[in-house]
Symmetry: C2
Subunit: 440 residues, 2 copies
């Protein structure tokens, strides 16, 4: 197996036993990118010299002084500030901008020894659904999803083991599904969002992409995610109880998602789990509309500076937020903000009865074209409710593209959710029918 | 009257009628600062050459191309990023740090033509109550309050007409009271907090200091603050109905605040207002403790990066947040977060029955010494509830130092609150007994 194919956990063990240098690893990734970049175009900024320089510095650090991610390559969504690479938000207003500031997450990753590979593409300010240049590695005629397009595609295409993303609607879970990787939106505000461009304070959440749950657990250690009760890493599907939830947006689900949800539930049942289909109380039906209202109203102050200095360079969708073109009254904004807030403890109470809630990640496989990054319909609710979510790959749609399913837990049960995700991921990857491939 | 004594509104009219250049104005302010800086020490960074350079550039802009704040000097709290001045957070970790990034508020202010005078002192990360070097301009032996110490003191001492601050507990309203100026904490998230160092996402709010309500209205225009109904600027105290609220922390009020609250209510009644003393439902009594829990738990992810890279340079209070030394369980954190959220619509419903709620700004006049910036006891509730608050000066304590009172309105009634504040400010400044002085 080539070094570029390794997960973070795997490559760390090779660094530790001395069978691979970080520089050789970095060169393997850079070669992989060189080979595949024309097809996938995941990168907004990548400087091979900077990567090799970091790798050499990391190689020079003695083993006993190394952090938990020492040498592991990480891709950074281009709405997260990095002091030695530009941060451009896919906005011509910020073309070439390099603010000399590391986001909180970047400080933590560097301290843990991560090798920052480059900046990955995003939709404009991670706030629109108009795709960047990036293609789905499984089918270049399709979107990789968004807004964390590049991080998801790069991880899916073995160009990097770990990708940083963000989610305000469905920007981490949806591209996770479209690219056939694990993606993880932790509990809101459990990781500092400092240095991440704002869309909506109450919604924006940092997210991660990886090709294994072990890698997500590694990141959770680095970011000090802690539940009240640390779960044992021996979860068994047998005897566990899952909720199956279609949600109010179920009519939007396509055949691929419908089949995946059925197959997922069957795989769990086959391994001895109880899977209860549940419905949420009717007040949860307001969430899609409330999410839309919060997004549009929060966009009003958020994009005021860009609107003032360069309205013509701002997408009309975002300029409309500033102008409040939808004429959302403050009263409606507050009703939505408070309405969602009141449902957070209620979903926790429901979710804590189960090992996890199993629910769709996407309406279907990645749509054709790169104009639109697809629908976040199945994700916005969990973003609004602040719950942790993991996309579990393993299924595929009518055209053979990957489809994942979401597992959801109560807030601050992130570690428990990852333990469950590991077992469920094994079951879905083994029995779901879709196999991860290394394209050449 | 010397130019440095002018409010923003006053100086703008002089720029417009050609009776004052921006450069002469800037030189007047710099002279004032030179004279008073040894006593007050409000500045974390001030470069006179940079100020004069800006002033000359601003003078060169023709009248018809000028923005609404053209030439008005603004002081910026040193937790807000400015790309041409260092941003150091009063932390040795960030000594000399100068990220090339303007906070959202700075972009908007520059676009409106503001002259950025310098960076003002703050407590460490605007997150502790240990005072910076700054002294109260009314008594050098006393604190100016915090955490927005420098901005409040500089405005109070006629070194600048407008100061930018922030509030997570009482960091804008309390120093407003201690320095005898108007201070304004708008509705949470009504102005973008992008580029402002995070303590708690759900609490941190940008705030302003000025010596007149007109200046706060000017800023509200610049930042596009809008209520559902734009209020007419002809509010009359006569016939209006105010609530007088002592809150659950009233036992902490000292004699100065007790007298000021009584005098304030009397002044309103004397002018023909109805002032009804109200009590909040008992669930509001939880807020002080809930605020503390949210602060400590939000500090956990917030200061993780600094803890990792330089724990020894972080105050023990903040290191304790990261270590969760108070052992706050996630369940308690969520109970506090959700509990406060549930009270927000309830306070709006109560507050909307009145022109404003009149309530203390501080426990008393500024305490002796600069070790502690004083207690935010009377402010934290409103920060947590997201309501707009204005500190109205006009009263004084046993030692002759200024004491203000807070006016509070429902969320997104900021413009209405400012209209009411203008009338109330006139009454309190005329009849409250404390007079603003220019110290030499």
């Amino acid at each position: 197996m080539e070094p570029y194919q390794l997960t973070a956990t795997q490559v760390l063990s090779k660094f530790k036993d001395g069978s691979l240098t970080i520089e050789d690893y970095a060169r393997s990734l850079l070669l992989r990118i060189e080979k595949r970049d024309a097809a996938v175009q995941a990168w907004a900024y990548l400087n091979p010299e900077y990567v090799i320089r970091q790798a050499k510095q990391l190689d020079a650090v003695p083993l006993e002084k190394r952090g938990p991610l020492h040498g592991v390559a990480v891709a950074v969504k281009d709405v997260i500030y990095t002091k030695d690479m530009p941060t451009q938000h896919n906005s011509s207003i910020y073309e070439g901008d390099e603010p000399k500031l590391d986001a909180a997450a970047i400080i933590t990753l560097r301290h843990a020894g991560a090798l920052l590979l480059g900046k990955t593409t995003t939709t404009e300010f991670a706030s629109t659904t108009a795709g960047p240049k990036t293609r789905n590695p499984h089918d270049a005629g399709r979107t990789p999803g968004g807004s964390s397009s590049g991080s998801a595609a790069a991880v899916g295409d073995f160009q990097v083991p770990i990708g940083l993303g963000t989610q305000t609607g469905g920007s981490t879970i949806r591209p996770g599904s479209f690219n056939g990787v694990y993606s993880f939106k932790p509990t809101w505000n459990s990781i500092s969002r400092e240095g991440l461009k704002i869309y909506s304070l109450i919604l924006d959440t940092i997210g991660f992409f990886a090709r294994s749950v072990e890698d997500l657990q590694l990141l959770s250690d680095v970011f000090a995610l802690e539940d009240d009760l640390s779960p044992k890493d021996d979860f068994s599907i047998k005897g566990a109880r899952f909720a199956l939830l279609k949600t109010v947006v179920w009519p939007q689900a396509g055949p691929g998602t419908a089949a995946a949800l059925e197959a997922g539930a069957k795989l769990l049942r086959d391994q001895g789990a109880e899977v209860d289909e549940i419905e949420l109380p009717p007040e949860f039906d307001n969430i899609p509309e409330w999410h839309r209202i919060v997004l549009h109203s929060d966009g009003r102050p958020t994009f005021l500076p860009e609107y003032r200095i360069a309205k013509e360079k701002l997408s009309p969708f975002l300029a409309d937020h500033v102008e409040n073109s939808c004429k959302i009254p403050r009263a409606a904004q507050l009703e939505a903000f408070d309405g969602i807030a009141a449902l957070r403890p209620k979903i926790d109470e429901i979710a804590c009865r189960y090992a996890a809630i199993l629910t769709p990640s996407v309406v279907d496989e990645a749509p054709v074209g790169t104009e639109s990054t697809g629908s976040p319909a199945f994700n916005s609710m969990w973003t609004a409710l602040h719950t942790p979510v993991v996309n579990i790959p393993g299924f595929s749609g009518d055209n053979g593209l990957p489809i994942g399913l979401s597992l959801v837990a109560p807030r601050y049960h992130d570690r428990q959710l990852l333990v469950v995700s590991k077992a469920v991921g094994k079951a879905f990857e083994a029995g779901g029918g879709w196999k991860r491939q290394v394209y050449s």
